[in-house]
């Protein structure tokens, strides 16, 4: 029996099955130069304009890594694995999700 991982669900495997010659929808993944964490930029996110959108939350493969509070998605950095799925699916005119290096903690001192 076919089984898709959550990450593949509605996103990976099935896309290949669509036959029509349509421009490829994939964006290059963020360059792999160390751990990343997702950051949602409010100025680009649709939910900051009273529009309902929860695509990133719906597709996040890590339970609890994106939560919705009062209609607005927020990343819980400690749980985010940096997979970049949310970046890939964000439908905002300007992609609202940045994949950044995790912020160093204060104790680590100056970079």
């Amino acid at each position: 029996m076919g089984k898709l991982s959550r990450r593949e669900l509605l996103f990976g495997r099935l896309r290949a099955g669509v036959s029509r010659a349509v421009p490829s929808a994939s964006t290059p993944p963020p360059p792999d130069d160390g751990p990343k964490v997702a950051v949602i930029q409010g100025r680009h996110c649709l939910t900051y304009r009273e529009l309902m959108c929860s695509t990133c939350y719906e597709r996040c493969p890590e339970k609890g890594a994106i939560v919705i509070e009062q209609g607005i998605p927020q990343v819980v950095s400690d749980l985010c694995t940096g997979c970049g799925d949310c970046h890939d699916v964000c439908p905002a005119p300007t992609n609202a999700i940045l994949m950044l290096a995790p912020r160093p903690t204060i104790n680590e001192g100056k970079p």
């Binding site: 029996m1 076919g2 089984k3 898709l4 991982s5 959550r6 593949e8 669900l9 509605l10 996103f11 099935l14 896309r15 099955g17 669509v18 036959s19 029509r20 010659a21 349509v22 421009p23 490829s24 929808a25 994939s26 964006t27 100025r43 680009h44 649709l46 900051y48 304009r49 009273e50 529009l51 309902m52 959108c53 929860s54 695509t55 719906e58 209609g71 890939d88 699916v89 964000c90 439908p91 905002a92 005119p93 300007t94 992609n95």
Partner: protein, 837 residues
């Protein structure tokens, strides 16, 4: 400078985002707005020129500003001067410019030769179409769309009914709005909502009848969410069979079984009467009572619900307009729908039903009801539309700003082109019908054609037309050619294997398709005509609130793609040249003749001359004469050019000054209401200025789950995609966000079947099977016993599985109810199980 596609996307994204920022300041209270610096109406980008256009997608009718550079759309911004959206756009709207630039645009006419589509020249293509129609002008069907522009619809309508004396013209709005039309007609005597979107800014309670505006009409829903965010109290009551993004924002969710809406609306009336909380004054002044049959013709005393149902079952209904009944009889019939009985029929707890009734009983509240496909795609669609009008009429929640029923459309010109121009098998422009002699004569007069040219017999409705196409000629299939424009029936008709795909085996049948991209429909086409789309052509749309919206051509269509309207008119001209008598008016002149200022005929049917004049303006202003009879006066074309749409009836208050109408039938807002009348339904069915309150009993869906197929299948849209995805699947952001269809299940139903999230499962109905991934606890959660599948994905054609049963009056199919089973792939299909038993 040639813009690279990459640059285009960057620019589109950038400017769209500017539009977003602009919307922030323009929305909300004046206090909020004034705290921020004023923003320009549209982004200032060197080299980019801007023009207005309504959005290409849904029936909301938002306006966008389209930025053009070097003959390409390079930017989209929300139009801050538009009343509908005030600068805001939804996720589809921000990307609307990119629908023009998918890589597989159709750019050359193609004809099927030996099974393959081969490129041909336009002249030959027009010739093939015209000769085919010439040879079988009575077996020809024209199937257009709620996305066709008003002039496109009018040209097709005039060609068919005024030229070919053929009433087989339909539009895909039959699948979408027909039950709303029959609802308005039978309740008020005239089509289209009396209310408008302004009501959303004034209502205290918003009631959603099987409606998910957060995904389907996001801009309208955001008007209400915006008020809540500013601290205003707006109670949202969601009645539905699926827990959606809308439900997340609702104060109350009433979980409803399929067809529960019929019982719920009756229950509100029962409660209003039982508690004597109905509006005596409103009902006395403005309402009559009506039903399929008047029992007093047969019975001496008032009869009860079950006797009535049996009586109508035996004698049959009397037609769309039914018969008058007394208030006492209505009261007796509706008394059946107690909250307890209704709980049994609808699944909604009696306590919630009493709460809902108490909202209507409260005169101090202003209530808006919204609905769309949930009530229209319904085998009792006309009935449920009547019933929702009923509760507003009975309770007097009607005709004040923020207080009234508002039906929504799903397509940008379902109202403008289909309902107003009447591109349906029984209709003529401006609310006329072919069955009425006076109406035919008026049309013949406007078209200057001989008396008797318009055929009095309605043509085939959509389902019947395609059924006749797919039935072999020797078995009575008397439609042999269909021309499809601006829609994709191969994916969107119900039961597509029967109603569309069966055509593949019938070699003598012929399908002409005007399209912009390859679709499930072009796959079976014998002739493909590449079409211009949206701002590649002039156009006029009409949205859900009677707003007529005009735009100009801004960019050149790709390759040899040409306007749909030109295609129709070029074929019409070729028919004239071939000697078809219908293409001459009664003076022997060409039916579609357009003269320039010097009185010379303009050869606009030659593509190079099509834009020598504004053909849209000519057709629209001709059509405009039709609109006065039913007081649907549209504004002159030149007036529409100046506005972001105008809501009809548009009144010329003094020469050259035009004023729109926000609320119909309401004194002070609608000039046709007599002084002192307050509210006047001046197109009343009963000719006494009153609306009809209908008794419509509960009935079960055409196909209900059973032991073999134990679930109910609901289909619909998702926020990212519009209809069959022809446009939105070509927009990378939207396609990426939602690349393929799925079956959404209730977690309990999934658990019972051993299905977990992401499993590929088999979805089976009596008409076929489809494999889809299961999505559980995702975006939405259907109530137990229901599954949901979106229809945008052509790789997962769910309409192969849907049912083609229709409403008896509106002939609209029901895409929300049919029996289905979902099984794991390692389990036998439900039918093999049945065989084993």
């Amino acid at each position: 400078m040639e813009l690279e596609r990459r640059d285009f996307m960057k620019l589109a994204a950038m400017t769209a985002a500017t539009g977003l920022a602009g919307s922030m300041a323009s929305r909300g209270s004046t206090a909020l707005a004034s705290s921020q610096p004023p923003l320009p109406d549209r982004p200032d980008i060197p080299g980019v020129t801007w023009e207005k256009a309504p959005c290409r997608f849904c029936g909301t009718g938002c306006h966008v500003q389209v930025g053009v550079q070097d003959d390409k759309v390079v930017a989209i911004a929300g139009d801050r001067q538009a009343d509908v959206n005030k600068g805001l756009l939804c996720v589809k709207g921000y990307h609307v410019g990119m629908i023009l630039y998918g890589q597989d645009r159709l750019t050359k006419p193609m004809a099927r030769r030996d099974g393959e589509l081969v490129e041909i020249e336009w002249d030959e293509a027009i010739d093939i179409a015209a000769k085919r129609i010439m040879a079988s002008d009575k077996k020809f069907g024209f199937y257009i769309s709620g996305q066709s522009t008003v002039p496109e619809g009018y040209a097709a309508q005039k060609l068919m009914k005024g030229g070919l004396s053929n009433n087989h013209i339909e539009a895909n709005a039959r699948l979408c709005m027909a039950s709303a039309v029959t609802g308005f007609l039978s309740t008020y005597g005239v089509d289209e909502p009396a209310s408008c979107y302004d009501d959303l800014d004034h209502c205290d309670t918003l009631i959603l009848w099987g409606n998910n505006p957060a995904e389907m009409h996001p801009i309208l829903f955001s008007r209400v969410m915006d008020r809540q965010a500013r601290g205003e109290k707006v109670t949202v009551i969601d009645i539905g069979s699926r827990h959606t993004r809308t439900t997340e924002r609702a104060d109350h969710f009433l979980p409803m079984k399929a067809h529960g809406d019929l019982a719920i609306a009756n229950c509100i009336a029962q409660q209003l009467i039982e508690q004597d909380a109905y509006d005596h004054d409103f009902v006395e002044k403005h309402c009559n009572f009506r039903a399929d049959r008047d029992p007093s013709a047969k019975f001496d005393s008032l009869i009860d619900h079950d006797t009535y149902v049996a009586y109508v079952k035996e004698e049959g209904a009397t037609g769309l307009f039914g018969q008058a009944i007394s208030f006492e009889q209505y009261k007796k019939l509706v008394s059946y729908y107690t909250p307890e009985k209704t709980q049994e029929l609808s699944g909604v707890p009696a306590e919630q039903l009493r709460m809902l009734a108490s909202v209507f009983a409260d005169k101090s509240q202003k209530i808006v009801s919204l609905w769309c496909m949930g009530m229209n795609q319904h085998t009792a669609g006309t009935a449920v539309n009547n019933l929702v009008h009923n509760v507003h009429l009975m309770s007097g929640h009607w005709g004040k700003p923020g207080d009234g029923p508002q039906s929504l459309t799903g397509q940008p010109a379902a109202c403008g082109t289909v309902r107003e121009v009447g591109t349906l098998a029984h209709a003529l422009p401006g609310g006329r019908i072919v069955a009425k002699e006076a109406h035919r004569e008026q049309a013949e007069g406007f078209w200057n054609v001989p008396k008797g040219r318009v055929n009095p017999k309605p043509g085939y409705h959509t389902v019947k037309m395609f059924e006749q196409l797919c039935t072999p000629t020797d078995q009575g299939g008397d439609i042999d050619t269909i021309w499809v424009q601006v829609t994709n029936p191969g994916q969107t008709l119900p039961n597509t294997k029967k109603l569309f795909k069966a055509k593949a085996d019938l070699k003598d049948k012929f399908l002409i398709v005007s399209e912009v991209y390859p679709t499930a429909t072009t796959e079976l086409a014998d002739l493909v005509l590449p079409a211009a789309m949206w701002v590649e052509k002039n156009g006029v749309y009409g949205n859900s609130e009677r707003r007529t919206q005009q735009w100009f051509k801004m960019v050149t269509p790709p390759g040899e793609a040409r306007d749909d309207c030109w295609q129709t008119l070029a074929v019409a001209r070729r028919l004239y040249e071939l000697g078809h008598p219908g293409l001459k008016d009664k003076d022997g002149e060409y039916l579609f003749s357009i003269k320039d200022d010097d009185g010379n005929e303009v050869p606009y049917w030659e593509w190079e001359h099509y834009y020598d004049i504004n053909v849209d303006k000519d057709l629209f202003d001709e059509y405009r004469q039709f609109t006065f009879l039913k007081h649907k006066n549209v504004a002159p074309y030149d007036e529409l050019v100046k506005h972001r749409g105008m809501r009809w009836p548009v009144i010329e208050t003094e020469p050259g000054t035009f004023k729109e109408t926000r609320w119909r039938f309401v004194e002070g807002a609608d000039v046709y209401v007599e002084k002192g009348a307050g509210i006047q339904f001046y197109h009343s069915v009963t000719k006494d200025n009153k609306a009809q309150v209908w008794f419509r009993p509960h009935q079960w869906p055409a196909e209900v789950p059973d032991d073999t197929l134990s679930l109910n299948l609901v289909t619909g849209r998702v926020i990212e995609h519009w209809h069959s995805g022809t446009m939105t699947m070509r927009v990378p952001q939207l396609r990426r966000a939602m690349p393929s269809a799925y079956v959404e299940m209730n977690p309990d139903d999934a658990r019972d079947r051993g299905i977990s999230n992401g499993d590929i499962v088999r979805v089976t109905t009596r008409r076929g099977e489809l494999e889809l991934p299961a999505w559980i606890n995702g975006r939405a959660k259907p109530l137990r016993g229901n599954v949901f599948v979106p229809f945008f994905d052509e790789a997962a054609p769910i309409n192969d599985l849907t049912l083609d049963a229709v409403d008896p009056f509106s002939k609209q199919p029901d895409y929300k109810k049919c029996a289905v089973e979902v099984t794991r792939l390692d389990q036998p299909s439900p039918y093999s199980l049945e065989d084993a038993n």
